[in-house]
Amino acid sequence: MRQNEHKKRVRIGYLMALFCAVLWGLWYIPGTTLWVLNPFDTMFADLATIHGDSVALVITAVLISAFNALTVIIALMVWNGGLGKLKEMGRTVRELKPCTKWYFLASIFGGPIAILGSFIAMGFVGAAFAAVAALLYPVIGSAVSYKWLGQKISKRALMGIIIIILGGFTIYAGGLIEDLSTGGGSLIGYIGGIMAACGWGIEGCVAAKGLDVSEPDIGITIRFLGENIIWWVIIIPVLVLAGFPMFTYAAQIFEPMVMLALMIAGITFGFCYVAWYKSFPLIGVGRGQGIGNLYGLFAVIFIFMFFGTVPEWTLILGGLLCVVGSLVMFTEESLELQSIRRE
């Protein structure tokens, strides 16, 4: 019975990570749709004529990310309200040094560094390259959580993570080769890729520091509070001062379709993050991120379902690898995970 309870805890952790992967994959539907909706579509077009495609892409991405963060925090507030955790949130946010500091740091790594890096990689090299670069984040996450947090990474977990990453590579192989042969050579794009991988990998480890002594539902909300401050109080005003008409476009979002897409994006992204943070204390940062990486597979499946983009054979093979990798981790003896720390 005791072992059963224990297994249950580990299973919840894995389920949370899986849940995160599904929602993350689903997020690509509203995430992609937003780009073709106004004001973002015209914003990109207008900016591209003046500043060129790459700059336009990054600036438009900033506005989309900022609205994404805004709808995420609304979803998270409703969530915490429903859980009756608003009081505990008040208690937690006041703990600047042990909690809030780490969550704000996590929001810097996860927000502007990872997301912006990802868009830069997309703009200067290609979408497939950006996806593959982002898939490398559990490597960084595992390494840092092992070294800095003293968490356990068994050989088995490591093997699972590596197989999942290989699967991700295979999924995007065709596009990756194309990206590298046509868009290759743009150094800034590769830096963007590194920013994405390091950003998300480090975010998990930094957040884990705060998660030690506070609750995941609350931690993730504080982290998004930080991200909103970064976009709306720092980056967007700076861009406005630099002469980009951010607010002109921002004021145009009140269209039913745009609002709907933003809301769905907020809900999927918000709960994907809730599940991600919930998995960390239960199974460790490396495992949570490894399983979370299955989003690469889910994204392609959902995009196929909604947009009819036909998958190639590389996708089938890569998908298979991803599933095998997660099974390798999933079937690990759960007593190994009595505690996620090394002795």
Binding site: M1, R9, C99, V213, S339, I340, R341
Partner: protein, 98 residues
């Protein structure tokens, strides 16, 4: 006192005496202090203890079945003690700083 501070702080503080405690007793105490007297409140505080144990800050040393149902009928009760790492985390993040 870690009252009016996050629940996990209070839990670590309660374990900081170095003694072992049953989760049922600790949970009841915190429930009363934080006004979380529902079953939902009980389970959510208990989950905090589970997370602390998974994170290696508490260590389970004994277990028994709640036959009388004084806490939660049929459930397992766990006895925990704080670990060295738990003491460090309690020290550097929760207490002795103000």
């Amino acid at each position: 006192m870690a009252k009016n501070r996050p629940i996990k702080f209070r839990l670590l503080e309660l374990f900081s005496d170095g003694e072992s405690h049953w989760n049922s007793e600790v949970v009841k105490k915190v429930q009363a202090e934080y006004g979380m007297n529902s079953n939902y409140g009980r389970d959510s505080i208990n989950f905090d203890i589970i997370e602390l144990a998974a994170g290696g800050m508490l260590k389970e040393i004994d277990v028994k079945k709640d036959d009388d149902g004084t806490y939660k009928a049929g459930a397992l009760l766990h006895k925990y003690v704080i670990t060295d790492f738990g003491k460090i985390r309690a020290g550097d993040s929760c207490f002795f700083k103000k």
